[in-house]
């Protein structure tokens, strides 16, 4: 059997350890070993964004990040977005704005959008479209996703004032 690597990460704020093979992707470890199935596999080659998680605050396609690369990193997944029983404003705006249909791409969009709003609290429509262009959605035509991110940005700004 192949030698396994010992990896320590901060996963949604909690120190988490796992063992992985060199060939295993971060997505595979998250889903199959840590049982965090919120990140989805849509293409397994970094083109659809359904597996997006934040690594040290930066959105990455976890299907093309090796699990060993996560050693020492801070990881955030969709499971970490809601806090103490409260949805994140992005999640709330996605619900109220009907920004999802089948829902398979939604975790990736939410995580990518969070990274954007963390960095740029008042993005233009173009900023939003540019930053979300790594994530494919086949159901919505993106209209309601973009509007939900706009609404969440407004709400976050209002609560911070």
């Amino acid at each position: 059997m192949s030698k396994k690597h010992h990896v320590t990460t901060s996963l949604n704020g909690q120190e988490t350890e796992f063992l992985c093979e060199s060939r295993q992707s971060l997505l595979e470890i998250l889903r199959d070993q840590l049982r965090l199935t919120g990140a989805k596999e849509g293409c397994n080659n970094g083109n659809c964004g359904a597996c997006t998680v934040l690594m040290n605050g930066v959105p990455v396609n976890s299907c093309i990040v090796l699990a060993v690369e996560a050693n020492g990193a801070a990881l955030e997944t969709v499971e970490g977005l809601a806090c103490l029983g409260h949805l994140h404003p992005l999640q709330q705006c996605f619900l109220e704005g009907a920004a999802l249909q089948c829902g398979i791409c939604t975790p990736g969009f939410l995580v990518t959008a969070k990274a954007l709003l963390d960095k740029n609290p008042s993005p233009s429509e173009h900023d939003i479209r540019f930053n979300l262009a790594n994530n494919l959605c086949r159901c919505t035509g993106y209209d309601k996703i973009v509007k939900a991110v706009q609404a969440a940005a407004k709400e976050l700004q209002a609560t911070q004032k």
Binding site: R23, R31, D32, R35, L36, T37, G38, A39, K40, E41, G42, C43, N44, N45, N47, C48, A50, T77, V78, E79, L81, A82, L87, Q91, F94, L95, E96, G97, A98, L100, Q101, C102, G103, I104, C105, T106, P107, L110, E125, I128, R129, F130, L132, A133, N134, N135, L136, C137, R138, C139, T140, G141, Y142, D143, K144, I145, V146, K147
Partner: protein, 771 residues
Amino acid sequence: MTTQNELYLGKPSYSVLGRRPVRHDGADKVTGKALYTADVNLPNMAHGKIVRSPHAHARIKSIVVSEALKVPGVFAVVTGKDWPDLKDKVAVMGEAGTVNLMHLGANCLAIDKVLYKGHAVAAVAAVNAHVAEEAARRIRVDYQVLPSVTWVLDAMKDDAPLLHPDLHTDSMGKKADKPSNVAVHLQFEKGNIADGFKLADLVVEREFRTASVHQGYIEPHAVVAMWNEDNRLKIWTATQGAFNCRQQTAELLQISISQVLVVPCEIGGGFGGKIAVYLEPVAALLSRQCGRPVKMVMQRNEVFEGTGPTPGSFIRLKLGAKNDGTLVAGEAWLAYDCGAFPGGMIGPGCMCVFSCYDLPNARVNGYDVLNNKPKTQAYRAPGSTQAAFACEQIVDELALKLGIDPIEFRLRNAAKEGTRRVDGPVYPRVGLVECLRAAQNSDHWKSPLTGKNRGRGVASGFWFNIGGASSCSASVNDDGIVNLVEGSTDIGGTRTSIAMQLAETLGISAEDVRPQVGDTDSVGYTFLTGGSRVTFATGLAAYKLGLDLQEQMKQRAAAIWECDPAAVQVLNGVYNHLGRSLTFKQIAAKIAEHKLDPVMGQASVTPEGSTNSFGVHIADVQVDPETGKTTILRYTAIQDAGKAVHPSYVEGQMQGGAVQGIGWALNEEYFFDAKDQMRNASFLDYRMPTCLDVPMIETIIVEVPNPSHPFGVRGVGETPIVPPPATIANAIQRATGVRMSELPISPARLWKALAGQAEEDGPEPCGERSS
């Protein structure tokens, strides 16, 4: 005029319909908790992998599996030899048409021949996906490679390589003498086209070509199958129809449908591509062999190369009009791929091609053509988009040449109540005229468009909205919340649109209904999610269920009041008798206290026929003459929803369909090389629109009640993909003067057309070029 039942109640206002409640499954889906098939993990579960053909067409000489079985951790291997004897039996699969089970089985695991690159030939189950992959690589398949063909017109030639040497064309019920790749020839006719064309002052004829495109759902096909020692087979899967999946799987495995339980998990998009089974029966065979549950998940290249694209097509279309803009005759000749096995989308293509027009004389010939592509599957209004790409451009050209506004031209000829479609049916009340008027009155159409290389296009589209069987059941809790179980898998928010119709009927709020999708053991038979049928047909079942529950609540109220149930009046969910009144919730709370029977009900319906949906789209484009790239500046989708149950999700269907159509128009296509291998089987190279490629999609919902639904509801899901390619082609014509007759209108193709160059590869552009 219409044979359909007039069910429309004509309520002047609604308390629930038209509101925008948060969907009931929403919190699960924004927190990552919703369970999709690939998220299912069972104890002792094995992982399966398919071995696929590297050739577009080949005879399988031998398959050697011994080396694979030696890999530590391998549990089972199956090939086409493991199928039971598959009889020539036909199963109905809704809008996907009918399918011969022999063909369906051979598509899941090849028998004797492989018919396209990516065709499944064997499958292996192992301790994990990596070991399964390793073992799959060690399965040796010896092929005799055969000549192949992928372009529909080439496949029709007499000397074309034959996919099924025993297949003879079925031409209007008659079998041809010689074998052919043409599986079916259809013809529809009305009036007399020779006389009709004589009346025309202007006739325009052109040829159109469209490439194969994929549904592009983000969730790859996935399944977990568990064959138990009691011969019960349990399947968790991503399917558009749990009952249809059950039927196909049971028939392929030659077991009774009641031995199979299908649990429909959340489904990550389908668009018609998740109706036919692929992995389900294979995973079942593996599970039976190894005694463990088996999970299989496709990779993206397997989805592109092994599952159904929509037909590539060739269409020749001719329309004649008088100088005043009256259409007098039309003729269409359509050849659509069906891929490796018969049963493509040519039927609906023929029915839809002239469906937007009151055309007195018409003839349509259609051909279902086999070629070495994956078996085509339904894709959102299957067959209609290609047909509209042709027809709506000819209509546009007639309007342009006759100097008539393109919407005005369409209004003069629009299909309406009483119009007979070329394939026979006569429309009941439909909303095309209202959609065209809404387009005319829209801010978009009224706003000027200026600037170089810019143009505005418009086009109409049609899809049927089928009926079919739907079931649901419900129980009323003590707290007055209604638990609803319905049989339609929910792809885009239909739990909520069905729950809202139950709530409307009962006079309670949408939030007071808790809907869930049942598995095949826990809800009555329900036909698949497709054909824009769910909100219409399963909604009709929910309405009927609501009437039953309301009647029972009246009886409980009467028992509490000790009066005649017939004397209890219900108004907006409040039950009244001689000045006494109880709300729905108050009655629910008293049922146990008064030792009355619990309230539960069930309903099933089978509405027949089609309820017809029309839409009109407007697009403003800008073409970059340097690169041939088309940018969508503004886009508006207008559609008749009958009654929009949840307007946000109606808009969502319109916007999503429009953007899929924009992808089809401008970028998406299967590239085949000289060996008929797909060369762009990834999301990097098969370019679906991203959010940076499209603007906001404006929507205008028109409401012309559907006479065969109590609230006037029409299905809305499919029509919005129909107009976009024609709309954009018409806009490009206005921007550049060039009429594009081939999809996609990719930058390279448009650049070449602009440069006046003939295409180097593939078909020549045809028809005259407008100045």
